[in-house]
């Protein structure tokens, strides 16, 4: 157990350090995040102002907070594509992964948590400052909610990763999966509540979203971190996330095992 923790700890550190290598890309990411934060906050706040006082419980300040917490999460929670596994299956580099005495989904997950941690510190944290100064943000109700909020970010990173991992596993059966990844990304970002809050969805669409892991990616951490959910409500949201991590994790293990039997690495 201790040996495992050390292994995955080092893999997470590698993910963290690997990301830290590319400083220019990080700086560019901060600029992009800020600019889009300003655009999103302005549009969403304008929409609420235009509609009257509140929309589904969101006033202007709550809207601004929603937009900026979204920007905080965006670098860490990789809602958009990750295709490393599919690429490695296609090129055959996956062979190197299978030569290690660890399950690939766990080693990649550890590395992605490290990457997410770095992105949160370097790309996410500045958004809190900029968002607070530009149009204001709200924060967790108390220390418990702060902790739940941070745990919720880590779980969101894991769910985003495992979801992409499962989609990548299709590459064991089909060579070209870029189209599938794109479609997945669009559905995931919509249901995650990245464009508008899931709470704004009509009932039937909200029910549909709730049946997927996607709201756990963005909407859940935002709800906890912005103080929209607190106490037992926040704990319940985190419990749902834990359920998704376990479910998707088991799915990843089974799919990897099945995919390995299908793998066709020809040549080299």
């Amino acid at each position: 157990m201790r040996a495992d923790l050390r292994t995955y700890g080092l893999l997470a550190r590698a993910g963290f350090r690997r990301q830290a290598t590319y400083r220019l890309a990080l700086a560019a990411g901060i600029v992009t995040n800020s600019v889009f934060g300003v655009i999103r906050a302005s549009i969403l706040m304008g929409a609420v102002a235009g509609a009257g006082a509140t929309v589904a419980g969101y006033d202007e300040r709550a809207m601004s907070s929603y937009a900026w917490w979204g920007q905080v999460l965006l670098g860490s929670v990789a809602v958009w594509g990750w295709s490393e596994l599919a690429d490695r299956v296609r090129t055959g580099d996956i062979a190197a992964d299978f030569l290690r005495p660890v399950p690939p989904y766990l080693s990649y997950l550890a590395a992605d948590l490290g990457r997410g941690a770095l992105a949160l510190l370097v790309r996410g944290a500045p958004m809190i400052v900029i968002g607070s100064l530009y149009s204001g943000m709200t924060f967790p109700a108390g220390p418990v909610e702060w902790v739940l909020g941070l745990v919720s970010i880590a779980l969101a990173v894991a769910i985003a990763f495992l979801g992409h991992y499962l989609v990548n596993c299709i590459a064991f059966w089909i060579i070209e999966i870029r189209g599938i990844l794109l479609a997945y990304g669009i559905v995931a970002t919509l249901f995650a509540g990245l464009y508008v809050p899931v709470h704004w969805f009509p009932d039937w669409l909200r029910a549909l979203a709730a049946a997927t892991p996607f709201p756990s990616l963005i909407q859940t951490p935002i709800d906890i971190l912005s103080g929209y959910a607190a106490g037992p409500g926040a704990a319940r949201l985190v419990a749902i996330q834990v359920g998704w991590v376990l479910g998707l994790g088991i799915g990843a293990a089974l799919t990897t095992a099945a995919g390995r039997r299908r793998l066709e690495v020809q040549g080299g």
């Binding site: 062979a95 299978f98 390995r260």
Partner: protein, 350 residues
């Protein structure tokens, strides 16, 4: 230069057919202690709109503990596919493979702790990170106790001359440095079986020599079993005491390197420079006339060392023309392997 490609069939000539047969006996004796044992191992790749391809076709062989085996064949002969089945990366279509006594597919993780594999064209290192960190992570993955890991990494760094590169990101290493790093990474956990797939591909002479010396020393000290695929016959000559030749997914030869040359009758070539243009030297006993240049001033004759000697051929040539100079080309082992491929299927066995 130890990397020379030519080798002398005369040196390994005597009764090499039986050397291969003796191998068979040794295998059956040592079967319980076989590190690798495959039986009718087959892997078929389905090809859309084409006939299926049996990359490995009913292959049977075994490798005993401590052996060093060269696994050679043309591109696409099925070498890498075999290795991937031996290491649990690819599932066999039929037949069985056992590596270190384990079923590689079922026991992949356990097996990964006991074998070290280098695929020359794929990296197991972390591209963006300093080399030293890759070693740290791999040591942890293999659950090496930190103190033992430090000792082992220290050894490998020294033996493979990797000290100056430890702080460099892997992506900035030269090919030679990277290959040595890959070998170090694969040997970190002191595996009982090392499988190297084209480990010297693209390396310069010096890097090759250094890598080979290291492998020889490792085997001497640890008694490690080695399976090596390569296009470089210098690798085989220096490192291996047994050769398996695979062709179209089937085993075409199993025996010693010199036995291989003897079996296919590798020929030496005598090149003679004569004092004046001369008619083609047909009909010299036990030779085959290969060609002439400069209107017959330089002529080439191939002969089998088993049938005649260079001196006898020279004497016969001297009866027909006046010699000014001569040279002898020794058979190239790649040429020997090529002959195996052109032989009828299943025609040559050790």
């Amino acid at each position: 230069m130890t990397t020379g490609r030519a080798f002398r069939p005369t040196a390994g000539r005597p009764d090499d057919g039986s050397a291969a047969a003796a191998h068979g006996d040794a295998d059956s004796d040592a079967h319980s202690d076989a590190v690798i044992s495959v039986e009718r191992l087959t892997r078929v790749f389905r090809r859309r709109g084409d006939t299926d391809l049996a990359a490995v076709d009913a292959m049977t062989f075994s490798v005993g503990r401590g052996e060093a085996v060269g696994y050679i064949g043309a591109n696409g002969a099925g070498k890498s596919t075999t290795i991937k089945m031996l290491t649990g990366i690819l599932a066999p279509t039929s037949g069985t493979a056992r590596t270190c006594g384990l079923d590689p597919m079922r026991g992949r993780r356990e097996l990964a702790r006991r074998i070290g594999v280098v695929f020359g064209q794929r990296s197991q290192l972390w591209w963006d990170l300093p080399l030293g960190e890759s070693f740290d992570i791999l040591a942890a993955i293999h659950r090496l106790e930190p103190r033992r890991a430090a000792t082992r990494v220290g050894q490998l760094i020294e033996l493979l001359d990797l000290g100056p590169t430890l702080a460099q990101p892997v992506r900035s290493l030269s090919l030679g440095q990277r290959m040595r790093a890959e070998v170090a990474a694969a040997l970190l956990h002191e595996p009982e079986l090392i499988i190297l797939d084209e480990p010297t591909i693209g390396l310069d002479v010096l890097s090759k020599a250094r890598l080979r010396e290291f492998l020889i020393a490792q085997r001497r000290e640890h008694g490690t079993t080695l399976l090596l695929t390569t296009h470089d016959m210098g690798d085989i000559e220096r490192l291996c005491d047994r050769v398996l030749v695979v062709d179209h997914g089937r085993l075409a030869f199993d025996g010693t390197l010199s036995g291989l040359a003897g079996t296919v009758g590798a020929q030496r070539v005598l090149i003679v420079d004569l004092d004046r243009p001369t008619d083609a030297l047909h009909g010299i006993p036990h030779t085959r006339w290969l060609g002439a240049e400069g209107e017959g001033v330089r002529q080439r004759l191939a002969f089998d060392a088993a049938d005649t000697t260079a001196a006898a051929v020279l004497a016969a040539v001297a009866e027909r023309a006046t010699l000014r100079d001569l040279s002898i080309e020794e058979p190239d082992i790649e040429d020997v392997v090529r002959r195996i491929y052109s032989a009828p299927p299943g025609g040559i066995t050790g």
